[in-house]
Subunit: 475 residues, 2 copies
């Protein structure tokens, strides 16, 4: 790990442990430089990283402080190890979440994994889409090459350099969203009955894919700051014939953590030792608040066992349905699964995104969204602290735009969701993020939209309903 990250981690731990308390002045840059024998710029880099994580605030001419107003709620707890792999259920609850039309009048959807699509930095993309759609030519209207548009694959290979991956366009297959990438990856590696180890809580789309293909999920204890437990994974690999590990290590959905680089490398080493594949969901990776973006597990992969899945659904717009997969040694199988599922991928959005990337619009857009989502996180945590029952635990997202909440044991977030229907508000109940329906006392909130009084009122309403349900249970 680089020097500044080491230092930032050390300071971060001290803050989390309460050595420095809210409002305290943090050591000066000069003092830390002397104490740790590193350059001034390294210390400054460390502080900027802590700032990105919301753990330090600069004050002009006074140095860095522990954010004063922030009384951070406690973190969610780590779930116990699953007793055995299970078949996935909860389809009815997922269906409830995804069957609402996108613009159902008046419903505030805090439940779905939607990015903000109102940014002016998306305008050049819309102009390209419009121009390409008007054109009556073969390249946008007919079947594309099954691998996807070459120009787009070249641009993705370039993007992925930032995550430490040196790929050629030939290593990449374009898919109908990350959903198809994950689905093709799972089918390329596993047969019905096979066991897949997953982080927990975990993306409901993958849970449902495992269910649909007849595979079993083994949910591993997952730390809300560092991700999947390597000890638990090793135990599981010894005990069960696991075929693949599926996880979202960077800006995890739903918890938002970034697995430390050392853990990513250690996880890969385990996968090598036990010869299992890794299906790495990186769909939020470019929305990490810190810059440069964190490395992928794929970037350490030497024998092609990592299948990296991603898309532009979270960074640009979900409606485009453009994702990709870098499937390593499983390229042939994945390509076959992709062909079986949908044939080739729609051409026009590929051409438009390629233009957008080539013209250099993507980086400024990402910068803007990262900053917006980071502010959104701080505000959402603040709202939850104020409006939810005392003792509500929350995650510490390091990227993306979703917050994971844990209420007291016995709380029923599905019942909460039903109560909220009367208020035209939707949340994502925790149980859909577990194969076995755990996390009934948890829920996920989306903070992608520009903050507004309306959203704050909705969050307050969710908190109010949650408190009422809690009180009703006690009386």
């Amino acid at each position: 790990m680089s020097l500044y990250l080491n230092l930032a981690e050390l300071l971060g731990e001290r803050i989390e442990q309460g050595l420095y308390r809210p409002g305290d002045r943090l050591p000066s840059v000069r003092a830390l430089s002397t104490e740790h024998g590193v350059s001034l710029s390294t210390v400054q880099q460390a502080y900027r990283h802590l700032e990105d994580q919301g753990l330090a605030t600069p004050r002009p001419k006074s140095g860095y402080f522990v954010p004063a107003a922030r009384q951070m709620p406690a973190l969610p707890q780590v779930a116990r190890m699953a007793q055995r792999p299970v078949e996935v259920s909860q389809w009815d609850q997922v269906l409830e979440l995804i069957s609402l039309p996108p613009s159902r009048a008046g419903v505030i959807q805090l439940g779905r994994g939607r990015p903000d699509i109102d940014s002016p930095t998306l305008k050049p993309l819309l102009r390209s889409l419009s121009r390409i759609s008007r054109r009556q030519d073969v390249s946008s209207l007919t079947y594309g090459c099954i691998y996807g548009h070459q120009g787009m694959r070249e641009q993705i290979a370039r993007l992925m350099l930032d995550s430490g991956c040196a790929l050629s366009y030939e290593d990449i297959v374009i898919t109908t969203g990350c959903h198809e990438a994950l689905s093709a990856a799972i089918r390329a590696i596993c047969q019905p009955g096979d066991i897949v180890a997953v982080d927990s809580p975990s993306f409901h789309g993958v849970m449902q894919a495992l269910k649909g293909f007849g595979m079993q999920a083994l949910e591993l204890p997952t730390d809300p700051l560092t991700g999947i437990s390597l000890e638990a994974l090793e135990l599981a690999l010894e005990q069960w014939p696991i075929k693949a590990i599926q996880l979202t290590p960077t800006c995890n959905n739903p918890q938002g953590y970034i697995m430390p680089e050392a853990n990513k490398r250690a996880l890969l080493a385990l996968a090598q030792r036990y010869d299992v594949a890794i299906i790495e969901d990186d769909v939020y990776g470019e929305l990490a608040y810190s810059y440069p973006r964190p490395r992928t597990i794929k970037s350490y992969d030497e024998d092609g066992r990592v299948l990296l899945c991603s898309s532009f659904s979270k960074t640009l717009a979900p409606g485009l349905r453009i994702g990709w997969i870098a499937p390593g040694r499983y390229l042939d199988r994945v390509l076959h699964m992709k062909y079986m599922g949908t044939g080739s991928t729609a051409q026009a959005p590929q051409l438009a995104i390629t233009e957008y990337l080539e013209a250099g619009h993507y980086e400024p857009h990402l910068r803007r969204m990262r900053a917006q989502y980071q502010r959104g996180r701080d505000l959402m945590i603040d709202w939850v602290s104020r409006y939810f029952p005392a003792g509500t635990r929350v995650s510490r997202p390091q990227g993306s735009f979703m917050l994971w909440l844990e209420l007291e044991a016995g709380f029923d977030s599905q019942r909460l969701n039903r109560e909220l229907q009367a208020h035209a508000i939707q949340i994502a109940p925790g149980s859909i993020f577990s194969a076995a329906g755990k996390y009934r006392n948890c829920l996920r909130l989306n903070y992608a939209s520009q903050p507004s009084a309306e959203i704050e009122a909705a969050v307050r309403q969710v908190g109010l309903c949650a408190a009422q349900l809690s009180d009703a249970d006690k009386s």
Copy 2:
């Protein structure tokens, strides 16, 4: 069957049997009216139907004649009954066909199932697409409802009235092309190892889906004029634990026949008796040359066992990737499979197609394309008669835009395809239309494009290469 179809069939048989020979004058409308005790307009309808099928030509003030110049080549032969269900192979050949980029400079692609996308009747669709793509609103950029856009589903329900189906929009799920509809249908009904009865030759996309999901295909003898053999199907149903029948009964791919209505009903009755599902691919149904379009098997379905799969890929443009499925009693399972595969379907093309349908642009477009493809068929059969080795057998497409050719036994169409690379021409080798790699001596040609000297030269080149390969084999 209606009176005029009865009469047309009778006359058609007499022509096919040689009772009336090329150039002969056919009986007058008045004479037939008297002979068969039907109205003059019924006879005229019968003649128009024969005209649609290329079996009669009107001459002003002289009545109807058997087309003079047309010395129709013989029909392809019916393959024998498969000995047993087999696992599907040929993925490498399919991959060769589909991995070519859409506009690879100079390559004349006679192999793929592409419609003509140059028609001016598509312009309103492109304008809608362009306008919608420019709009930065939730409905086109974010995740749609998992079932698809309601307005589009309502329009499809209306369209399907023409095929005899009385469906509500709630019976329809929008998919990423017909490919996803078929894939979801197969997975909704079958488990790995299950047997699916198929027409033969059959669409390679379905063959590959069966392969990928680990199912077995039982290829049934299929008549080039009337489709799947009902006797063979009944035998197979008695002998094997068949889970589903998958077929393209209307404007079959690759043979172009339309299964007679009586056969469609009889097939459904068999499926009911043996309690198996029917996966009906209707993707070419609206491109039948005769009007009104033929009924679907689904239109006779009373207990929801038919899963009707279709799309706008052949009628509008493949690059839109918009299809649909009316899955009957399997709706819940299909929806789950669709969610697992790709999540929701892209919104913008759904909104644009809905506008196009609502504004009444679709019917005139279909009329134009049907007429163009019918002319294309006559020309392509003529070219094949002239440029291919004597004895080449050809299908009699009654819709769509593809011709199936059978050369002498032992001919190798894959080798032909390789030879044609030097001439920048691609055909679809017959073996990809069979689970077991049958039909090596067959090939499929596309006649969707407006006829041109370039295409005629390409067909001549294919014929020439075919003749050379045949001669080389003999010497």
